[in-house]
Symmetry: C2
Subunit: 130 residues, 2 copies
């Protein structure tokens, strides 16, 4: 018995002007909610401090902005976005137990909106063992 | 380049006394945060109305409580819980870009705390194409 679906989008090579701006990501989630005809219960976000030091490989040195993160709690489950400007990465999770008729529209919108060089999309049925 | 890990836990056959109680699930998320030594940025939750009518197969008729949902935005990403008392289902997502040394402790804690008959656990590395 399936209660919903998770769409996990892992973007690489992202160059977004407003990458580090929590308000931008909140507005992006609002657009997803509108496309999906979802009901928002709550939205929250956070803007992290600038990255000053980092030693991991793959560090994108010309962008030292801190990341941003945003989350929408929905009547139909949730949507989240987390960003790592220092690695040019953005990860979006869309979990809905509502109608799936707009899922492809949401995935297409996010791919158009978040400029990237590479993406992994994972779709998972949720709600138990299958 | 991996930026984090998602642990997706899909519980079936759940009989929880406080299934429908948002405050209970918030306290559960707080315990996960404590075990994981994570930093909470924000917590929100919602308690749904009682389920009055339902026609889907698998409907658990003796429990007509509405579900509850809770979400914690973390410095290390997020944790969410969504419940469907009418199907005896609970779904927990733990996404962390922080230390993974307590991941097994978190998974064990959730399995002990949420009494269930069946579970599916999915672990996914996050942050791009692999």
């Amino acid at each position: 018995m399936v209660v919903g679906i998770s769409i996990l989008l892992d973007f690489s090579g992202v160059v977004a002007e407003k990458f580090h701006c929590a308000a931008y990501w909140e507005s992006l989630l609002d657009q997803v909610i509108k496309i999906g005809e979802m009901t928002k219960l709550h939205m929250s976000s956070h803007q992290f401090e600038k990255v000053k030091h980092h030693t991991k490989p793959g560090f994108y040195k010309s962008n030292l902005h801190g990341g941003a993160t945003a989350f929408a709690l929905l009547a139909e489950s949730h949507i989240s976005v987390h960003t790592w400007p220092e690695y040019q990465k953005v990860v979006v999770d869309v979990f809905t137990c509502g109608s799936q008729k707009h899922i492809d529209d949401i995935v297409n919108f996010l791919q158009d909106e978040i400029q990237h060089s590479d993406i992994r999309i994972t779709r998972l049925k949720r709600g138990g063992s299958f």
